[in-house]
């Protein structure tokens, strides 16, 4: 074999071929990865859009045999549940995150961090069963509050971990500068560190809300569901996800169609939230 001119050997072509094949496989996989999302989106729009009208948002559900009607109670119910879950879960999650990031160099914090990771892997139905045992059984009835507790359990790990990560990103020099100026530790934490990490924390909050708003399993045995208008925390409450679950399996076409529309509304709500997350994270980089 000559040393000056490069004569391609069969290994060379093999490498070329393997390289090209692998690259093609990567592209193919990338396309396959987005296909389900696109399919879900378009299929839901295709099936759901025909029932999507103003009535769906402002009317109550109609019984089988009467066409029309809407899911006003379920839409409001989903919002009430998310708000209740947030009201319970966010303060706990954010404060835990602050604790872990700022004061978490000890065994207890290590334990808390480990437990949070375990909690994030707990199936949502288990959170529902826990809320059933903690709230429904002692109170002797199903309630929106119990649904909120179940959702809070699911939110806490996401919020805790993102808050911690975001606060850890704040440079140490900021804290040192603040402390050097004689600002007390608590003020440094609240007004310098948390404020600097604020956008990141908001992203975590939005992600956790997106995580819980689409849940059905933890609601079945807690918030139960309701075909009537109810916003009381003390009563069972309807939600879009439970309505989809019930309507999709009924042997009546009208209900099946409404389930598609409910799915579409839920996807629109969730995508709106995702876009909000994107908007928040993007503006963060623009500002810096």
């Amino acid at each position: 074999m000559s040393e000056t001119s490069f004569v391609p050997s069969w290994q060379y072509y093999r490498r070329k071929f393997v390289g090209a094949t692998m690259l093609a496989l990567c592209y193919l996989s990338a396309v396959i990865a987005i296909v389900p999302l696109v399919l879900i989106f378009f299929y839901t729009i295709d099936r759901g859009v025909s029932y999507l009208n103003l009535d769906f948002f402002i009317q109550m559900p109609k019984p089988v045999g009467e066409t029309g009607g809407g899911m006003a109670n379920a839409i409001v119910g989903t919002l009430v549940l998310v708000a209740t879950g947030s009201a319970i879960g966010l303060p706990i999650g954010i404060l835990t995150g602050i604790y872990l990031a700022e004061f978490g160099n000890n065994k207890f914090a290590y334990f808390v961090r480990f437990m949070t990771d375990v909690l994030s892997g707990v199936p949502s139905i288990v959170a529902g069963v826990v809320a059933y045992g903690l709230v429904v059984v002692p109170m002797k009835h199903f309630s929106a509050l119990a649904g909120g507790v179940a959702m809070a359990i699911l939110m806490i790990p996401t919020v805790t971990r993102t808050t911690e990560e975001m606060i850890r990103l704040v440079p140490h020099s900021y804290r040192e500068a603040a402390l050097a100026l004689g600002i007390p530790q608590w003020k440094t934490t609240m007004q310098i560190v948390v404020r600097t990490a604020f956008r990141g924390i908001i992203t975590g909050i939005l992600l956790s809300i997106a995580r819980i708003a689409g849940e059905t399993a933890p609601l079945l045995f807690t918030a139960l569901g309701n075909r009537f208008w109810s916003t009381s925390l003390n009563q069972p409450i309807g939600s879009l996800t439970v309505f989809i679950y019930d309507y999709a399996k009924a042997p009546f076409e009208d209900w099946n169609n409404q389930a598609w529309t409910a799915a579409l509304v839920l996807i629109i709500l969730m995508s709106g939230l995702s876009l909000a997350v994107r908007a928040v994270t993007r503006s963060k980089y623009v500002q810096r």
Partner: protein, 343 residues
């Protein structure tokens, strides 16, 4: 943050709004999925009539029984009656007896996916049991051919489809097979979920319907409404008196009438394999589970009033929604039972 704020605002407004409407009477119930459609119809009609809200959620028969025992609901619903232990458990925990009130009836039909046969495959109890035991594996088995002269049966393997989840439908179906087949009784038995010897499992009636639709040569059992709404063919079953009966609302009602004479006092009764020439043998009741003595006076009065309405005017909604209304003899027994309720 804005989203959060607006969410909280919505919740706050909602709380204020609901506080003003709190005076309304509300009863909560949960249980069987099978009667969900008619119950939601009933409760909606009753709401417009009386403004009383009966909130019913279909979480499954087993869930309904559990909630009644725990006392987390005002009423429950089930397709398979509570066992005596469950009744005792509920009585000790809630301090009052649980009553079974039949509301409507349904049929479990044997459906199949063999286009060559068309509608109206004829089956005997023995052949049905053999198929679900895995003893008959081909559609052109001589035992099936003998029952269906004139129909062309293909040389195709039988694919058995059954429920994978605990269900009242399975209870009715296995209760029937247990009654008609010694082999089934010893090998499998009855229950909301059993150890199926052969076949594929599907979740819910919609799951089994899907399996039968997709698999050529499949046979499965679903509630009548699912077969009708999905245009699936269903088999005619040979009943106790030897006649092949098509599953219809009339033949189900006839089965209940046939069994009415031997009703036990607590109305927990199986009407599979019932007497009567026109009785469809795989039929069953669905029950509301109510407390004999309700703690809340207002709720108790509302419950009794509703049950009386359901036994009379309520029955007229059944047929349109593919449920079989109760025969007169059964309504009488129920009304007597409702009179026992105290509040």
């Amino acid at each position: 943050m804005k989203i959060m704020k607006s969410l909280l605002l919505v919740a706050a407004l909602g709380l204020i709004g609901s506080a003003t409407l709190q005076a309304q009477l509300k009863l909560n119930g949960a249980g069987a999925t099978f009667p969900y459609v008619i119950y939601s119809k009933w409760f909606d009609v009753y709401h417009t009539k009386t403004t009383i809200e009966f909130n019913y959620q279909s979480i499954g028969s087993g869930g309904g029984i559990k909630q009644v025992i725990e006392g987390t609901v005002d009423f429950g619903a089930t397709d398979g009656p509570m066992t005596s232990e469950q009744m005792k458990d509920a009585e000790t925990k809630q301090g009052t007896e649980v009553l079974h009130i039949p509301t409507v009836m349904g049929a479990v039909v044997v459906t199949y996916n063999v286009p060559e046969i068309g509608a109206g495959l004829k089956l005997t109890p023995a052949v049905l049991a053999s198929i679900f035991l895995g003893e008959i594996t081909k559609w052109n088995d001589s035992k099936i051919v003998a029952l269906n002269s004139g129909k062309s049966l293909p040389d195709q393997p039988i694919v058995v489809a059954h429920r994978s989840d605990g269900s009242g439908t399975s209870f009715i179906f296995t209760d029937y097979l247990t009654k008609v087949s010694k082999d089934w009784e010893t090998k499998v038995g009855k229950g909301t979920s059993v150890n199926w010897p052969v076949g594929l499992g599907g979740k819910g009636n919609e799951g089994v319907t899907g399996l039968v639709k997709q698999a050529p040569g499949a046979i499965g059992y679903v509630e009548l409404a699912y077969a009708v709404k999905n245009n699936l063919p269903y088999a005619w079953m040979k009943n106790k008196s030897g006649a092949f009966v098509e599953p219809t609302l009339e033949s189900v009602t006839s089965a209940a009438a046939g069994a009415a004479k031997n009703f036990p006092e607590d109305l927990r009764v199986s009407i599979t394999d019932a007497d009567g020439k026109n009785s469809y043998p795989i039929s069953g009741f669905t029950w509301l589970l109510v407390y004999k003595r309700m703690k809340d006076k207002g709720k108790g009065a509302a419950m009794v009033k509703f049950l009386k309405w359901a036994m009379t005017d309520g029955q007229s909604y059944a047929k349109d929604l593919l449920y079989a209304p109760l025969p007169k003899e059964v309504v009488k027994r129920c009304e007597a039972k409702i009179k026992d309720m105290k509040y």
